[in-house]
């Protein structure tokens, strides 16, 4: 969108421009129309006259579009059978060696990957409720003191972020515990 067009739009809003040609342009250009809508919202906000509906109208439109575009029933990926598990072939061994060398360079990343894979193995063995539905289990267990969110939305989000981090931390440490138990088995 041209700066001149925006300037003209601004003039039009203030009632200082009566260019019929430009008004015609606005009525045909969607981006200019949305800009027109935004300018009005901004002006109303600055004057403190903002009506709630003028904001929500736009959002609800977007939400409706997002819902329409969402895949509500994702197809389940078929479970591969045991025969299909990728087993390194002999001819690939050379590449595995190279991978091995690269792996040693990015040790930290790999360690994290291993722990993840291990807990996936452990999870099934030690009860499926472990981590599959981990977040809700952790958050819905009101052991000890559960701090209620105070005040505005922002604080509430902070609270959720903190809980998510704590949950991530616990999950990582449980994985680490299981890994260390294996590495240190006598």
């Amino acid at each position: 969108m041209q700066i001149e067009q925006k300037q003209q739009l601004s003039l039009l809003m203030d009632g200082e421009s009566m260019d019929d040609h430009f008004i015609d342009m606005v009525s045909h250009d969607e981006s200019l129309q949305s800009c027109w809508h935004r300018y009005h919202v901004v002006r109303d906000a600055m004057r403190g006259e903002l009506h709630a509906s003028s904001l929500t109208l736009d959002i609800s439109n977007q939400v409706a579009m997002a819902i329409a575009g969402e895949d509500l029933y994702p197809q389940l990926i078929e479970q591969p059978s045991q025969e299909e598990i990728a087993i390194p072939k002999a001819e690939n061994l050379f590449w595995l060696r190279i991978k091995d060398i690269i792996a040693k360079v990015s040790q930290v990343g790999l360690a994290a990957c291993v722990t993840l894979a291990i807990i996936a193995g452990v999870q099934y063995h030690q009860g499926q409720s472990d981590d599959v539905s981990g977040v809700p289990t952790l958050n819905t267990l009101p052991m000890g003191v559960n701090v209620a969110p105070v005040g505005g939305i922002q604080q509430h989000n902070d609270q959720q972020l903190l809980e998510k981090r704590q949950y991530d931390k616990i999950r990582l440490l449980v994985q680490d515990y299981e890994l260390q138990k294996r590495l240190n088995a006598r």
Binding site: Q79, A111, T137, D168, L179, Q180
Partner: protein, 333 residues
């Protein structure tokens, strides 16, 4: 004269009673000792049988209030640890397979890449308790014979392994009369509820050890992931109290969002736990999660967050958390 005689008679009767009582006390204590010895011998035989014999078993494992999961476990025993081969197959859900070969454990999983780690045991099969020298555990645990019964179509003896301090879960292990394999292992809490149970359904007598050996030898294994030891440890705390018999096994840092969590692993050979100290406090001051036998306890202490994870009861885990002492700068290291 008559009086004197009756007095002597009375005295001798009393000493007779005394001797009988003494004899009874001696006999019963020696009987208890013999029983403890028998339990100890049984457990040691079991520990040996699990590692040195060849067998194929089908078993199920179940946490409290969870569904049981079924497994097949193949084992080629050896006197030397390096020569033990074993394979664990998941009979339900995704076809997972874990193979122990040459002190390396390889994980094959259909839903994620396969990998190997340096581990001398498939811990998903039998719990740590069976792999112990029970003589060295005798100062911490009591071993009690509970009697005979039958499971997996075989005669078994029941042995209870219970901590003298009563601060741990206990195990009841069902040991086969002939081959001394553990056929059922119950993890039991203070109220005698079963927390976790491993139950062998059958021992396959037609197990072809040679065929299994060929399978292990001819399989290709994924790369071994080496996990290196760290040097720059945060050594800022220690435990003022440990459950009896527990020792520090490993100390290292866990990286989390570019900050370090100081972690130590402790074990007594039967149970284990990690203590994790990080600077980032949790929003909940106390949080307790129980998953089967595993207890997770998170608490804020000073300006730190402490997370303890282990297969110990809640009370013991909380007591460990209360006994974390910060080292002053001078005394550390």
């Amino acid at each position: 004269m008559n009086f004197l005689f009756s007095l002597i008679n009375y005295k001798s009767k009393q000493s007779n009673n005394f001797i009988i009582t003494l004899f009874f006390i001696l006999f019963s204590t020696s009987a208890i000792a013999a029983e403890t010895n028998e339990a100890l011998n049984l457990l040691n035989k079991m520990g040996k049988a699990v590692q040195t014999s060849d067998y194929q078993i089908h078993f199920l494992s179940q946490d409290r209030e969870q569904f049981a999961t079924t497994f097949e476990y193949n084992h080629l025993g050896a006197a030397k640890k390096d020569n033990i081969n074993a394979q664990l197959l998941y009979l339900e859900g995704p076809a997972k397979e874990i193979i122990l070969h040459n002190n390396t454990t390889s994980y094959f999983q259909p839903d994620s890449p396969s990998f190997s780690i340096a581990s001398s045991r498939i811990t998903e099969a039998f719990p740590d308790v069976v792999y112990n020298d029970f003589n060295s555990l005798a100062s911490i645990y009591d071993f009690i014979l509970l009697g005979k019964t039958r499971t997996a179509n075989r005669g078994v003896q029941l042995v209870k392994v219970i901590a003298k301090d009563k601060d741990r879960y206990s195990y009841v292990i069902w040991i086969d009369d002939e081959n001394f394999l553990p056929l059922r292992i119950d993890l039991i809490d203070d109220d005698n509820n079963i927390v976790n149970q491993l139950k062998v359904l059958d021992i396959d007598a037609s197990f072809d050890a040679q065929k299994f050996k060929n399978y292990i030898d001819n399989r290709t294994y994924p790369i071994l992931l080496s996990i290196e030891k760290q040097n720059n440890l945060l050594d800022a705390w220690r435990l003022a109290w440990l459950p009896k018999g527990f020792k520090e096994i490993a100390a290292y840092n866990v990286n989390f969002y570019s900050s370090d969590i100081a972690t130590k692993l402790f074990s007594d050979g039967v149970f284990s736990f990690t203590v994790n100290v990080s600077l980032e406090q949790a929003s909940q001051s106390n949080q307790l999660i129980q998953q089967g036998g595993r207890t997770i306890f998170s608490t804020n202490l000073g300006n730190k967050n402490i997370i303890i994870i282990g297969n110990l009861p809640e009370a013991t885990i909380e007591r460990i958390a209360q006994n974390i002492v910060e080292k002053s700068p001078e005394t550390s290291r």
